[in-house]
Subunit: 344 residues, 2 copies
């Protein structure tokens, strides 16, 4: 039998541990896997494009476990009341090739993206950062804030979205969360006031500029999660030239990230090298750091590992009959005989 | 909600329709899709290899639906009582990117391989073929025979396996099937006696020769399904030079099929062109035809379409919460609020 984790199971995990502790634990799995970066076989992702969007398969393996995520990106889905991104993933045993776990990943992708953002910020933002500007209050907004609150000590969030109802929903959702104060603002400039960390998470299509060089104060950490596919960016390219730019996996980031705007030789630092202690994160108090995040298969691998462990720990393991269980592996036909299926 | 088809659901379909009718119906879906071959975006498969085996993702799309199959191949799994091949697949809506159906495909891969073999034989074997030699009585053996019985009129099967217990199991499994007579034989030569069709389906590792040129009578159709990965073949290469060789998808077959033994320019006929009426199948009564089958993503696409339709038709639709259902697609966090998850 294969373990199955659906939406209800993820919610059960969140209910049992609390969302903030889930984000912390998940970040530890991601950190551990980034630290052993060189153990991973980083296979190219497969993208199947269409006029409305893209469907991608993102595989990765460490030689013991293989994981892949199915994820789509369809910006216009919201017009039809659908999510722009849905995802699910599978963890498998490399030695036997058997799938071990199938899990929803729409909700957990938001969790892992937030955990990864906050993890990177722990190495890149000034330790005294308390105020975050949030530009774009979409599906990932609340998760980002909870991760930054619990992992980096953010106390105040100044949010701006071109759609006031999105900011209002965001403020309402976080109103009951202790220790975080949300200020809804009317412009990007108002949102940026006193910002130690700027998170850009707009659904900007094409090459938008939601933030310019002159709006960024020295010492800021920018967490750019909105630009994540070819032809979609949200930062003024001058910001890149003025920042220490950190990415997950350069071959992918140069195609999908903010750095698609600059030369292929543009200098970047790989996050795993900072986590592994091979390079420093922030070099000076007044340096601008930029985590140009596009989301990488390793983070999904870590998330599946975490989900498998935590559901077993709290005793919330469901299984599905995705793989047959036969007494003699050469006798697949016995499944029919056993269950009384007639041949004719 | 996403539809889920597990082992039990496939068995329910087989119980309701009968295995032979399932094979016939499935073959129609495969035939229809091969006929519109040029509608498909045939993406390269991703393989992740390891010392024990390989895990592959096989995607394909016709611009309206996207499908992929996860499949492993681990020849030594039988030593541990495990299947050498397990598989599952997903059908998705290209317009929205949403997954529609998740299905087991270990059992259905055996069904679709059998349906494809018999479909090809309808175009390639002599219409008066009644006797099949089956070399190798592994996991796929019974399914092959049922498909050839119901789709091409095979009445007699002469089976040979190096493991007598495999032949015995095969004979036992088919003993109650009306209209098919199984003869267990002690050698390949004895198995080949009077054969109109030869199916080779051994688990031969490396380059084995289970059949030589001189053993093949004029007018025979060879259904070669055992050689299906690089470095694994089961036919004497001289047979290739003496046959009209038909393949599914040349770029894949030249790497994985029997034709990996010959030059890249070796002439082959594509099965879809025969099905679409662009080329003839068998050209003469005494011609030797050879279907060098490795299994192609299109056949899995057809299988998922068939399973979706048939389970809806017989009212056997189960769903799983693999994708969240939210009132406002920008408000993913509402899932937590709705279910009373505390943030802290």
């Amino acid at each position: 039998m294969v373990q199955y984790i659906g939406i209800q199971d993820v919610i059960e995990v969140l209910r049992t541990l609390g969302t903030e502790r889930v984000l912390q634990e998940l970040a530890k799995y991601i950190e551990d896997d980034f630290r052993r970066w060189e153990d991973f076989d980083k296979v190219a992702r497969i993208a199947s494009g269409s006029p409305n969007g893209v469907i991608e398969l993102m595989p990765i393996s460490d030689g013991r476990q293989f994981a892949f995520k199915y994820v789509n990106g369809h910006p216009c889905n919201t017009n039809a009341g659908k999510l722009t991104v849905t995802a699910f993933g599978v963890l498998a045993d490399v030695a036997s090739g058997y799938p071990l776990l199938l899990s929803e990943m729409t909700l957990t992708t938001a969790l892992r993206t937030a955990a990864t953002s906050a993890l990177a910020a722990r190495y890149l933002a000034r330790p005294d950062s308390r105020t975050m500007a949030l530009i774009g209050a979409g599906a990932q907004a609340e998760f980002q804030v909870l991760a930054f609150k619990t992992m980096t000590g953010i106390e105040k969030v100044r949010v701006f979205d071109v759609d006031p109802s999105a900011s209002a929903r965001f403020a309402r959702n976080l109103a009951t969360v202790p220790g975080i104060h949300v200020h809804v603002t009317q412009s990007v400039d108002e949102g940026l006031q006193d910002a130690d960390i700027i998170t850009t998470a707009t659904a900007a299509k094409k090459h938008a500029v939601v933030l310019t060089r002159s709006q960024v104060r020295p010492g800021t950490h920018i967490n750019a999660i909105g630009g994540d596919c070819p032809g979609k960016t949200e930062l003024d390219r001058e910001i890149l030239h003025a920042s220490r730019v950190v990415v997950e996996y350069p071959p992918q980031s140069r195609v999908e990230g903010e750095i698609q705007q600059v030369d292929p030789g543009f200098p970047v630092v790989e996050l795993w090298r900072i986590i592994a202690g091979l390079e420093v994160g922030r070099r000076a108090v007044d340096e601008v750091t930029l985590f140009d995040s596009v989301g990488f298969a390793l983070e999904d691998f870590s998330t599946l590992r975490f989900l498998r462990d935590i559901t077993q720990e709290i005793g919330a393991v469901r299984t599905i009959d995705l793989v047959p269980d036969v007494a003699d592996p050469r006798d697949l036909y016995s499944l029919l005989r056993r269950d009384g299926v007639l041949a004719a």
